[in-house]
């Protein structure tokens, strides 16, 4: 059933009447005009055409689509939580206290010494981290121009490093899917500002040589950056700080269960060692006598957000961490890893690399991974991430998270296996049972129509 656009339901063109002089105002405004009942039906219907974590399994590799506990929404909806960012320090002591507690929790979890909450997303965290690295090197009078990034890393690593003005040196993976120490040695030099590493990496593999890697990076004077996308694999069992990482970001919408919201908002706090703490964004929160205060770290890189990031998201993360506690977080990781291993055991697609942790990358082999994924939609589950990383042919990057129980994993495996058994034609015709059939993405790009105005123009 097609749901018309708001504009197709009822649009009014209204003449703008204002007490302002004509020269300062527009003449008219044309927007949808519908009463609340019609809007309620519109958005209810749209929601029905959307798959969320509560619709079924969502094993999207590298995204950690875990359940978002309901109570965290109620916490974030409290009126007391929503104050203006320019409020005086004295008048928001409760809020500052929560920020401070969350800073400390995250520092403990990552093995870091200080954490800023300001970056509004993971990529913003990366950018913040690289700006910190840059400021650090500059403070040392050290002019470095390169950031090293493994070929299997998230695209954001490359982009964030480039945004900060660095040349990106791509590091080819070794045959075991991990960092190749020789290649690393070749890539590192006194030009190296930082190595950005995801650990376990996007294949779910732990970088066993992490101590050597850290040593090598530090030897050339570089910093070791931890991409927190896969932190859900390590909670309580390994801390980036203990492995030699100098700085890292956390994806609270992955690891700490804040909802993905169809693409955001997330939050990307950045943790650093003591040595780097003076470079953190402005403001930072610390204890002061009897309360909390904002202050500017002495060599602060400045700001990466107009205010202090996505506070309501951070508040949900704080609620989640406080609910689970250390034991719950550790168990979440254990079950996430157990689930990935059990699922991999049950599916018939080949999984070339291991041992993996909370996610694995299977290969669709002769099949087109994207087609196989579309077919899984017909089997009522959300498919894995496809065709990435390129180190695996026709990759199916799969992360069931800890929330699925045995029976659901078996249903999920059945969907994988059913798709694997289907012939090419069936795969190419998939999906058949979804709100929309296969969507032509190529023509959308060839002939971009990005608004209802563009549709009207046709």
């Amino acid at each position: 059933r097609y749901e018309p656009l708001l504009s197709e339901k009822n649009t009014d063109r209204v003449t703008v009447e204002s007490s302002l002089p004509d020269g300062l105002t527009r003449d008219e405004l044309t927007l949808p005009s519908l009463p609340e009942p019609a809007l309620a039906r519109h958005y209810t219907r749209l929601s029905e055409m959307n798959y969320g974590v509560e619709s079924g399994p969502f094993p999207l590799g590298s995204c950690t689509m875990k359940y978002n506990p309901k109570f965290t929404e109620d916490v974030a909806a409290r009126r007391e939580a929503s104050v203006h960012p320019d409020r005086s320090e004295r008048s928001v002591q409760g809020l500052l206290e929560i920020q401070h507690r969350l800073q400390e929790q995250l520092a403990t979890i990552g093995g870091m010494d200080a954490v800023t909450l300001q970056p509004p997303a993971g990529a913003a965290g990366e950018f913040t981290g690289i700006l910190i690295a840059k400021a650090y090197h500059e403070a040392n009078g050290d002019d470095r121009t390169e950031v090293v990034v493994p070929d299997s890393a998230h695209g954001t690593n490359f982009a964030s490093a480039a945004m900060a003005g660095y040349d990106v040196v791509e590091l080819p993976s070794g045959d075991d899917g991990r960092v190749d120490l020789e290649a690393l040695s070749a890539a590192l030099s006194e030009r190296t500002a930082a190595l950005m590493l995801t650990n376990p990496n996007t294949l779910g593999l732990f970088e066993r040589n992490i101590t050597e890697i850290a040593q090598m990076v530090h030897e050339v004077g570089g910093l070791l950056y931890y991409d927190g996308a896969n932190l859900n694999a390590l909670l309580g069992r390994g801390r980036p700080g203990d492995m030699g990482f100098d700085l890292m970001h956390y994806n609270v919408h992955k690891t700490f269960a804040t909802p993905h919201g169809g693409g955001g908002p997330g939050a990307g706090p950045v943790g650093v060692t003591e040595e780097l703490a003076e470079f953190l964004p402005d403001p930072h929160v610390r204890r002061a006598d009897g309360g909390y205060e904002r202050y500017t770290p002495v060599r602060s890189i400045g700001k990466v957000h107009g205010y202090e990031g996505n506070w309501l998201v951070l508040l949900k993360a704080y609620a989640y961490i406080t609910r689970l506690g250390g034991a719950g977080l550790t168990d979440a990781s254990a079950k996430a890893v157990l689930n990935a291993n059990y699922l991999a055991e049950r599916i018939e697609y080949e999984v070339p690399f291991g041992p993996f942790h909370h996610e694995f990358v299977a290969s669709a082999g002769e099949q087109d991974a994207a087609d196989a994924a579309k077919r899984m939609l017909d089997y009522g589950v959300h498919p894995p991430t496809t065709k990435w990383p390129e180190t695996v042919d026709e990759a199916l990057m799969t992360e069931p998270t800890e929330i699925e129980r045995k029976r659901t994993l078996e249903q999920l495996a059945a969907a994988f296996n059913a798709a694997r058994a289907d012939d090419t034609e069936t795969l190419e015709d998939a999906p058949q049972r979804t709100a929309a059939r296969r969507i032509d993405q190529a023509s959308a790009a060839r002939n971009p129509r990005l608004s209802w105005q563009a549709l009207d123009d046709e």
Partner: protein, 442 residues
């Protein structure tokens, strides 16, 4: 579930056993391929609490915030968010979904974002709007890097107003760290751009000129078209900052020659939220393939029905990596959804009414304040939107501190200036506020 385990991963012991045995492992610990030397002993030292206990802990902590009525703005505004927005945006199909990489099961969110883009196109007059940046400050930063990409040969300087919300200015600086581009300011005259002075600062080296309306001091910029002409003359990108409420009555950025419009979209859709927002970003068609962030486009599905999909993804980091138009990945999609809902709830009449209130409220409040001994308002003889600056005979900080003791928050700008913002969310408190101000100002 495991005693003290995750309440949201409650495998029974039997299930865990069976799964381990299927894998051929003895224990969960065995599955972790972490060298002994960097293992952590699970001692995170964070206590586990029940749901009720966490809620009550957070409630108690938040109650330590003073219960102030805020007359605060300066780029971040509090409008009444209708219940419909909260309730419909909270449907789990929206809230817990992912970026729409599988459009066949994400048509609902894609359509809502397409509608969001369309409403911004109408508001700005610019034909391309993305479906969100983090906030106005990062949107300004992205506009600057867009300028660098499209005007790279031409210049190395961006020009911004001398008075600009601090976060916007400093975030812009961060976005320019990686480029050989400097920031300069142009002066304001009685609250709005000094166009003559600006004209003198423009040159071939000017990559971008930024102006906003309303300005950080609440004044409505009066000569945007002149600034647009200057930008056009020198080949600089003209970026206009605003917000959806103001855009419903003020001149369309497209009509004053803007190449890019940025601003705070979540002025509708979110409460104050301690600065959480959504960056509005719209631009001219020619920059389509240089736009940062997600774009939703219309297409068709295999049965020929209209369908929506993320499009032009080759601009983005997950495909183009270091050559991407931006590093943005996770954005503010859900807030954009809320903004679209709020816009739709208001409709064009409701939106214009709200905007007109934003013009009349500060005017009336300034007039009442001006009657108070020891204080003059507005400082700028301009049209205002939501807020204005007032001059105090007493030190501004002391006035603000007195007000805070009485339960009201205002901005302190300098030794003798405070700034006051009024919308429908604090209008009921105005009489009490004036009473307190009368005491504080004398």
């Amino acid at each position: 579930m495991t005693a003290n385990g995750s309440p949201y991963a409650s495998h029974t012991d039997a299930e865990t056993e069976a799964m381990l045995s299927a894998i051929g492992a003895e224990s969960e610990a065995e599955l972790f391929d972490i060298p002994e030397s960097v293992r952590f002993d699970e001692s995170l030292g964070i206590e586990q609490r029940g749901e009720q206990a966490v809620r009550s802990l957070i409630d108690r902590t938040l109650e330590r915030n003073d219960d102030l009525i805020e007359f605060l703005g300066r780029g971040h505004y509090d409008h009444y968010v209708p219940s419909m927005v909260d309730q419909l945006s909270s449907r789990s199909e929206f809230l817990t979904s992912y970026t729409q990489y599988q459009p066949e099961v994400a048509q609902g969110f894609l359509q809502a974002l397409f509608e969001y883009q369309s409403m911004l196109v109408e508001l700005t007059g610019l034909p391309v709007a993305n479906c969100s940046m983090y906030d106005a400050a990062t949107a300004l930063g992205e506009a600057a890097t867009l300028a660098i990409r499209v005007r790279a040969v031409d210049g190395d300087r961006v020009l911004v107003p001398e008075r600009l919300q601090e976060g916007r200015r400093r975030t812009l600086e961060s976005y320019l760290v990686g480029h050989d581009v400097g920031i300069e300011t142009y002066p304001m005259a009685d609250g709005i751009a000094d166009v003559e002075a600006l004209s003198e600062r423009m040159g071939e080296e000017t990559l971008l000129v930024y102006a906003e309306t309303p300005t950080v001091r609440g004044t409505i910029e009066e000569r945007l078209d002149a600034i647009g002409d200057l930008a056009a003359d020198s080949g600089a990108l003209f970026v206009v900052g605003s917000d959806p409420v103001a855009l419903s009555v003020l001149e369309r950025p497209a009509d004053v020659g803007a190449d890019v419009a940025i601003g705070e979209a979540a002025t509708l859709g979110l409460p104050a939220a301690y600065g959480m927002g959504t960056g509005l970003f719209a631009c001219r068609e020619e920059f389509l393939r240089q736009v940062p962030g997600r774009l939703v486009g219309a297409s068709e599905d295999a049965s020929g029905r209209r369908a929506y999909t993320l499009t032009l993804q080759t601009r983005e980091q997950h495909i183009r990596r270091e050559r991407a138009t931006s590093n943005i990945c996770t954005n503010q999609a859900w807030v954009a959804l809320r903004t679209a809902m709020h816009l739709a709830w208001l409709g064009p009449d409701g939106l214009i009414d709200l905007a007109e209130d934003c013009v009349t409220r500060p005017k009336e409040l300034a007039a009442r304040i001006d009657d108070i001994r020891g204080i003059g308002a507005p400082v700028h003889d301009r049209h205002h939107f939501r807020e204005f600056v007032a001059r105090t005979d007493q030190p501004a900080a002391a006035v603000a501190a007195d007000l805070e003791r009485d339960g009201y928050a205002v901005h302190v700008l300098d030794e003798h200036e405070i700034q006051i913002c009024t919308t429908e969310t604090n209008e009921d408190a105005i009489d009490g506020f004036l009473e307190a101000l009368r005491e504080a100002a004398r």
